[in-house]
Symmetry: C3
């Protein structure tokens, strides 16, 4: 399976991990059991008991460990077997563990070599949620029947909004100046600068007294683990961004299998943070955009593609696809590097 | 996949194509998007945008063309790209188109080389519906989980009525004289002539004053594209057919995949054409016969067969199977001819 | 497929075979049609008409035979074609038949060479139901999405009760003396002897006047066709078993496919046989234990394993797994013997 291994994947929202029982998720083809320790920390190990392959995610939390509910073997967060009702704690009973980090309300899991799991490598796509009011932010999850690359293409794609999301008011974006640059930590940044024009309705409550023209800008960040964020802002024409209104939407696409994806999203804004009704309106607009507009189209692509990758079908690509093509190339290069590394370490 | 290419397939009833949005169908393994032009004509192209493989059947009708709702590329009925928001109209953006013909309320699509799509080749199995009153005809559609050949066998099979459809009153048909002949345009005709006997109840309202014996006859037409029609009539013994009562049932089996079929049917009669109650009774009898009697049996055959063709399982065939065996051989011969043609044109 | 052929499989409860129509079941990969003759006897043949592969389980019972409802061919219980509306009764029309035996309310079917089908080989796992009151016994059926071996492991496993079934009060069983021995007819017997202790609540109504300590014992019988029975009893310490209270639970795991199983069970007791309320309580406890505790765990194992056999995944086994490992080895040896036999008879 073509998944990056040495990377942090967004597994699930911290709020979706109960206190009293484990949760199983398949991430990049790996079955992983997550659970919460007594201090609240979430940890993760392989979701397969070494004894007889029972799913540990059907197990019970015992102290800080996870006990298999089939035969009572228990495991620590580092994968070591810490209880065996039937004999000694042999090394063969240890299971893979997955380093976990909680960052910005998200449980991130590292699927590669544990000693390389540096939380500093987690992309900062949810930074905007730090300290944000509940009435200025929404969080969501969609299980999607399409591969992560098709979703990442979609977010790096300035063109589709005009046709698929008229509700988002993103008409004409392909005409504006676009800039694609590498972020320096393996990702990409796509910037779209709109010339001065009418203030978009969405931002008007953020700058109620503004008169004259507004400048709008969009920055989309892609990371090879599928974690993405779009920042959209508007400011009075000629004024610095700090004087404007901001919004962010994180779109995080964690591969489950080659053709299914965990779609985790969050969206927040800098203005009228206490307006719960506005927040609910945002929630509904995004629900429609993501689940009624994007989802059928992208699942439709996957249905057309079957088991093929888009790039195997000689798609006719344009300059508007530049960012997504660059991202796919960077991803393929990283996959290739990991394959080379494995080859070398096996030799 | 073993499908005929240079043939007209019944795609869907004209009444099932809306005016305001396209419809996608898989026909003989091809994904096809159908839509209605402003003049009402239905046209069809490949259901896969060359840009990034979005289904065009999720698109929007724009003028006479079909616009991909993902990125705004639009296509004419001949498959040519007529709008591209991102660049010139390069030839690589054109998609396959499928010649379409409306005949007798049915949308027929040609899956082979477009220049060979002669509407005169469409089998005339729905001729009986021309000008027929709505109270003398019914139309239907069933999506079936069995291959088209099993359904065609079923219609060419004079034997099963007695056992599977006692409701249709077709007992004893295997005892009668049967004649199988080629139709001259690649099809087959099976004629069953019943000796003079009681008038079947079904036809009695058509010949209310008749006394004495009736002659009943059945003609089943098979065409290699799966379009079939059964004509059943009764006439006073010794009198010409024109003095009798007639009925027709078209059974059209359009392959979707090797093991699934679009079953399109229609049934009409020559007598008491204004009797809506009689028409509803016919509708119900056929619904029972097709969906409660034929369908489970034929889907059951497919379940027993799995991915095998019936002929791979050394079936024990009888003279009663002669018509269906002949049809299968003609079909295989045509498949072989098409394969040879492709080989020659590739050389 | 890795199924034993020359063995009796439990097909379905006699009470689940209607009088007026056949029933189809897939057993060890074979499609089999069962029906009841006029004298009530259940018989079985291949569920595929040799004419055109219609399922005979959709057919009709005619006298003592089974008639294909597609074309009227009929078959006797020995698989011979006894009616053919289209020609002579050629040998090619005969189908495989499956010897059937009714024993203790269960319809057993033999999938191997019919001449070797000796009913004396049927394992006696349901003997406890002979003459039992309806208020002292329950019967059940579960269709399970996991292979039969995982279920057999489960019943031969003294360890899981403590963790998966606290409701059954089987804590601490792995500490007791265990004895595994061959039964002499290809099966295994696992005996667990508990030292004298408190009388288990379950048996208390059977020995209401008992004071002092009780001895509890468990005997689990495995047979290579998946038919198993657990006998659990308690007796006043130092007294013979005959003075105690007994219960039996038959767990019969008939393979459907490699990864799906027909789970047929029955449970009876020797004490308070007329207590219908007690019986209903037993029914509910077992329903919870089998469908809410065992089933998700074992289907979970299969999900982790995918198409692999447990033994291919280098499970870490303990002495507590001794009985199930022995059973798997005996099963593999029998499979191998059957493969050798087929090779020899083919040579």
């Amino acid at each position: 399976m073509n998944f990056l291994r040495n990377t942090w994947y967004a597994a699930l929202w911290d709020r979706d991990v109960p206190a009293d029982r484990p949760v199983g998720r398949v991430i990049a083809g790996e079955r992983i059991a997550f659970w919460r320790k007594r201090d609240g920390t979430v940890v993760a190990i392989a979701d397969s008991c070494p004894h007889r392959r029972a799913p540990l995610s059907l197990g019970a939390i015992e102290g800080d460990g996870l006990m298999c509910r089939y035969h009572g073997l228990a495991f620590a967060e580092n994968g070591r077997c810490i209880a065996n009702p039937y004999g000694p704690l042999l090394d063969g009973l240890n299971v893979a563990h997955f380093p976990v980090a909680l960052r910005d309300g998200m449980i991130w899991a590292w699927t590669g070599e544990p000693e390389r799991a540096d939380p500093a490598l987690i992309p900062d796509v949810l930074a905007f949620t730090r300290g944000i009011a509940d009435t200025a932010c929404i969080w969501g999850y969609i299980h999607a029947r399409a591969g992560h690359k098709l979703f990442e293409d979609n977010i790096l794609d300035p063109g589709h909004g005009e046709f698929l999301h008229p509700v988002l008011g993103s008409a004409g974006m392909t005409k504006h100046k676009r800039l694609v640059e590498e972020t320096g930590n393996g990702g990409l940044k796509l910037t779209i600068l709109q010339p001065a024009g009418d203030m978009p309705d969405f931002f008007r409550p953020g700058l109620p007294d503004m008169e004259g023209l507004a400048e709008t800008w969009i920055e989309s960040i892609w990371n090879p683990n599928g974690a993405m964020v779009i920042r959209v802002g508007a400011t009075p024409a000629g004024r610095p961004r700090e004087e404007g209104a901001d919004s962010w939407t994180a779109h995080i696409f964690t591969p489950e299998t080659e053709t299914t994806t965990h779609y985790l999203y969050a969206s927040g804004r800098s203005f009228i943070p206490d307006d719960a009704a506005f927040n609910e309106a945002v929630r509904e607009v995004l629900r429609v955009a993501f689940t009624e507009e994007d989802l059928p189209m992208i699942e439709g692509q996957q249905a057309v593609l079957g088991d093929q990758d888009l790039m195997e079908t000689t798609p006719q690509l344009f300059s508007v696809d530049r960012a997504s093509v660059m991202a796919r190339r960077m991803f393929d290069r990283m996959l290739e590097e990991e394959a080379q590394e494995r080859l070398l370490s096996a030799a």
